[in-house]
Amino acid sequence: MLSKIRQTVEDRGNQHVGLLAEFSDPGALVEAVEGLREKGYTRLDTFSPFPIHGMDRAMGLGVSKLGFMVFGGAVIGGLLGVFLQWWTSAGPQPNWWPTELNQFLGYPVNISNKPLFAWESSVPVIFELTILFSALTAVGGMLALNGLPRPYNPLFNSDRFGRATDDAFFVHVSSRDTAFDRATTAADLRGLGATGVEYVDHDGATLVGDDAEAGTAVSTRADAPVAPHHTTGDI
């Protein structure tokens, strides 16, 4: 059991070991992904400062399953709203209700001989709790599906990668892809118009292929100081 968990964590930690290629713009990024998929790569990811229209289709990703999770959260929230109000006001018990549990019910307070529990007056609180639980599930589910928070990521070893949240566009091919080969994949990426290809793993990021031989500067911004950062952790 423990080893299985360790394996899962390790897999997740290693999913971003591989080749990282920069592209000039969102259009080139979409074309690159389409080209790579034609060549048979599957373990791809792209990184961009904003979501790119049509990228999910280019990457062959379906619609997120988050909606189903949120529906579950909504049902739980709504039922909790009903139960809370019925239970605290000791509303009428259904036939199947075990009478031994009555001692745990709230105290029935008779106000103007109104019913102890009424659906009409319960609607606002049921509604609000439905929304609350749905929203918590939406955020929690999004983070869970994305595997966040994730403070360490080998991609942070690349100096250029910091611009993925500013104005740079990257394609990543995982080394665990069955079609992955460091030299040929790098050549494929360059053939699709990559402006710089790096191999990124837990030890750091190194330029690959022509870039490294020619010593071509990859497109780091001239005005930005490159500071040492993000220790390479042992995973």
């Binding site: 792209t46 609350l132 749905s134 993925a164 500071a227």
Partner: protein, 526 residues
């Protein structure tokens, strides 16, 4: 795409002008570009992130000092109130609800604009919301915090405020779920929570942006703090997929929530039997008023912020105009509701109802009623004229009179309905004391303290979202990329411009769409 440096982007305040078509005619509001000044993605990052990174300017300390002074007044007013009890307020026998509920409803109403802009405009695909939604959501959170002050301290014994929550206790006592006041506890606190979640989810990519900038600048402590809150966001498309879905779902949830919250607030009044309160028009009328005052507050804050922080190219005059249109529409809806109330009071034939309304307009509080009428119904009518909608000082003036008017609306509803109830022997005149005033002014201290901290430490414009609505964010914008999608008109125009700049040969127009064909593009949509 011509690149501009960040410096020239700051200098060129294209956002204050009116965009025009190539032939010189002014653009319609639908066609006008959302981001002006020919900015690149990096320029947008720079323009917004810079204000969280720079050395704190003296002016900020000055403003913050002012806000802290008001916050001190709040502390003093709260301390005096808790020590002596709500008797220090001007409440009297028929008027048990005074400024406290007026201020509560006023602040909650202001707090509606943020979620409205984020959620409702998102669902309606109003892409111009991206420039203003971050600040509006922050304003929502702070306004809700101010609103919660008033009922919290109005209960008198604030140390047992937890009685309002369904917590097991030794008295086996539970909240009264049939009371609208308890619905309010749930509605407002859940609204605050969901707004916070929505705001934070929207912030994650921008926090990652300023985290990565802090790393580049070598500011490692800052990078670590931001890294904690950015949750390790990388901008992965596999993450964006779930993120966008979560954002859509949150918008879908927040839309009915925002409508329900002010409806529930209006139930505090409408479910009672007081003439002037017991009407079915209250929920929609309160919601319209909330949107009205909320947009006015967003307008007030952003007119200042865009000037101070040089964001004219992101928050353009077109944005101001659109907000003014919403202020005009909701102000007119609210004014229509005032007139409807009067008509129904007359038409009902109920003597008490008729008296309550005649007393509002012509009784001892006539001045409050006419301030409300002129600020909410009459002044916004100026915005029928386009040039007025695009005049900064007038927008500022009307946004302020709107919030004055909306405060008086709540005053009129609360006080004039209570001060003369069914029995003339119990009639009385209500006026506030200095401690009412102190708490109200102090709540501005809380609001502005939080808002100034927000402006200083958090990107005040949603960077990732603004980039997403720029024309060059669309993959179809780029030369030669075509996958059979029809190209939106404005994108085609942009691309045409870009191609002309790169010396395209004589253009032909085989598909007769008014846009010359792109000689290199895949012509599958012709």
């Amino acid at each position: 795409m011509a690149t501009v440096t960040s410096k020239s982007a700051y200098d060129r305040l294209g956002g204050d002008g009116a965009p025009a078509y190539p032939d010189g005619t002014p653009m319609t509001l639908e066609d006008a570009p959302l981001v002006r000044g020919n900015l690149s993605f990096h320029d947008v990052t720079e323009m917004v992130a810079y204000h969280t990174e720079k050395k704190t300017p003296f002016g900020w300390y000055l403003a913050f000092g002012g806000a802290l002074t008001l916050l001190g007044i709040l502390g003093l007013s709260v301390a005096y109130l808790v020590w002596n009890g709500p008797g220090v307020w001007g409440l009297n026998n028929p008027v048990f609800w005074g400024w406290a509920i007026v201020n509560f409803v006023w602040w909650v109403g202001i707090g509606h604009a943020g979620t409205l802009i984020s959620a409702v405009l998102f669902l309606f695909r109003q892409r111009w919301r991206t420039s203003i939604n971050r600040a509006a959501e922050a304003m929502t959170l702070f306004a809700v915090a101010c609103a919660l002050l008033f009922p919290t301290f109005h209960i008198g014994r604030v140390w047992v405020v937890y009685y309002m929550l369904p917590l097991p206790n030794q008295m086996a006592m539970w909240p009264q779920f049939k009371s609208p006041l308890l619905w309010d506890v749930f509605a407002v606190s859940i609204y605050g929570t969901v707004s916070l979640l929505f705001w934070y989810v929207g912030l994650i990519p921008d926090l990652a942006t300023i985290r990565d900038r802090a790393v580049r600048a070598g500011r490692m402590l800052r990078a670590k703090i931001l890294g904690f809150f950015a949750l390790g966001w990388t901008g992965s498309n596999r993450h964006w997929r779930h993120y966008e879905r979560a954002y859509l779902i949150l918008a879908g949830l927040a839309t009915p929530l925002v409508l329900s919250v002010h409806s529930v607030v209006s139930f505090d009044f409408a479910v009672s039997l007081i003439p002037g309160w017991h009407t079915t028009i209250f929920p929609p009328y309160f919601v319209a008023g909330a949107i009205f005052s909320g947009f006015a507050m967003v307008q007030t804050l952003l007119l200042v912020a865009r000037k101070v922080y040089h964001l004219e190219n992101l928050i353009t005059l077109d944005h101001i105009e659109k907000m003014n249109i919403i202020i005009l529409v909701t102000g007119t809806v609210v004014g229509f509701a005032y007139i409807t109330e009067f008509f129904i009071a007359w038409y009902s034939g109920v003597e008490y109802e008729q008296y309550a309304f005649a007393n509002r307009a012509f009784g001892p509080y006539w001045w409050a009623y006419w301030i409300m009428m002129s600020c909410n119904l009459i002044f916004p009518q100026l915005f029928w004229k386009k040039s007025f909608r695009r005049t900064i000082w007038l927008s500022m003036a009307i946004s302020i009179t709107t919030n004055i008017g909306m405060w008086f609306e709540r005053f009129v509803i609360t006080v004039t309905s209570l001060h003369r109830d069914f029995l003339p022997s119990s009639w009385d005149y209500y006026s506030a004391t200095v401690w009412d005033l102190g708490l109200y002014i102090g709540s501005f201290g809380l609001f502005f303290t939080l808002f100034l901290l927000f402006l200083r430490f958090v990107p005040m414009v949603a960077i990732a979202e603004v980039k997403g609505v720029m024309p060059q964010a669309d993959p179809h914008f780029y030369h030669g990329h075509g996958d059979g999608h029809a190209m939106p008109h404005e994108l085609a125009a942009y691309q045409h411009d870009a191609n002309v700049q790169t010396a395209a040969p004589a253009a032909s127009d085989t598909d007769h769409d008014g846009i010359p064909d792109d000689p290199d593009a895949d012509d599958s949509n012709a």
